[in-house]
Symmetry: C2
Subunit: 321 residues, 2 copies
Amino acid sequence: MELDEICRPVSEDLTEVEVRLKAAGEVDSPGLSELLDYGLKGGGKRIRPILVLLSGRLFDGSSDHLMPMALAVELTHLATLVHDDTIDNSVVRWGRPTINTLWGSEQAVLLGDYLFARGGELTASTGNIRVIKLLSKTLMIITGGEVAQARSAFNLEQTREHYFNRISGKTASLFVLATESGAALAGAPEESIQILQEYGNNLGIAFQIVDDILDFISSEEEMGKPVGSDLTQGTLTLPGMLLLEQYPEDNPIKKLFQERGGWEYITRAIDLVRNSPIIDQCFDIATRYHNRACRRLDQLPDNEFRQSLYGLADFIITRRK
Amino acid sequence: MELDEICRPVSEDLTEVEVRLKAAGEVDSPGLSELLDYGLKGGGKRIRPILVLLSGRLFDGSSDHLMPMALAVELTHLATLVHDDTIDNSVVRWGRPTINTLWGSEQAVLLGDYLFARGGELTASTGNIRVIKLLSKTLMIITGGEVAQARSAFNLEQTREHYFNRISGKTASLFVLATESGAALAGAPEESIQILQEYGNNLGIAFQIVDDILDFISSEEEMGKPVGSDLTQGTLTLPGMLLLEQYPEDNPIKKLFQERGGWEYITRAIDLVRNSPIIDQCFDIATRYHNRACRRLDQLPDNEFRQSLYGLADFIITRRK
């Protein structure tokens, strides 16, 4: 299933999301407006708004409630990207210069703060205390987790448990925010909300594993950012972990982390991973999370939105960019 | 009135605020915990929690509601300081190294994000949609305003209107959050909440004017940060504006801003301001806002908390650090 087809049941809502994202950039301050305009039209697949909309529509939730939340989740996501790029000194995202590259890290920090605030405002506008609380909790998990990640940079003593905790906090928590809030705003039964939490969490983990694989096997052209950026930042992801486990001798990641740099080690690590069974092994693990995500979906109402949740899960582990 | 005496009616609550701030630093992640521990015991006068507590107690509000909000407002304030220091590359605050100096700007950005999130979570825990919305709005005003401020750095074409808009967004908005949320959580009548909004707004402006004066006339020892930091950042504040108006010829700020630097110009500007009527003129303007702040306080219940609101206003314009 192509992403377009998956989105068809919520395509009108998604058009509205784009319109409102554009409108969110029209503020009274010329400086801020310029930053927002650039920051909001960047790209990205809008997976998180799609999750809010599908999870809510599945239970006949109304646009009035779901739309602000879909926007809030996307703005929150964009805020974390803007801060991430600033922290990592990333130069390119979505095939174009990052905010920090064009306007400096000061403006990028402030833009991120503004986007967090705007996400909070939109969430508050739902009037639903549960989702408001969930947004704050999620942000605490994400930012708390990122402190841990930054501190574990260039550290070889990381287990898979560390890795799964990290990506669960960094990525899956926002997926859970999306699915849980969509369902909660639609007034879904608690049992169903739980199924969608599970779906969001496992889908988020699968999504991040694939992201981490793509950082090894994709091209800058396809990803819109340089290959190997995780290793450049000293971030150890699943493919790198498997490489360390399976090739303990003369391992380029070991050298990279010990010497805290060296482009030739990154190239060699990428090369080794590509020409080994590691990629398949990583996709197998991602597929396991995909299956867990979908395991209880059959207990939800059987409609086109549920079909799209299955489709989205498939898309997430088969995508190549 | 000394600050201690002003705080006496809410002193037990303030002790509890300190205990809970300390507890907020005890999290499961060692890295984050270290940052929080340092960030939360920094210093500061806790003016904003005092405002929440006085405004709420005035209407017999309960600790259960006011305490999380008092903490939320302080954490939000601390978050903005951590990000400000990072953006400005400030080295010292409260007489000790800043977070960005000790842990680098990456960790500082993340700590600020975490504190914003924690502030949001505490606000959400009040269950009061009005104050939750107000928090997000306030953050949008503050961060939106800071983008504008950053863009107006080293710009000589700024009017007093710009200045008052800027400090109203940057400082007074958080004071309004404190007073309005305190009163609203205590179930105060709308008319009274309005009076406290006015109080917060005008008090915030007076507070910031005095802050801007102190940046010219105080000492590093008293302030806990270098004198002249606003000029160093290219930020034009009220004393500087008056200096430009009153000494248009051979003005050191003009040269500083045109050449974008020069410590000797800062020293000369400070010297000129100190030995001119400008400081008195600025205090007069601050006093005008002090008076506006207090103008309608007599319509509020006559009790010790109201007395402290008067006392706090006096303290804010007579303080010398």
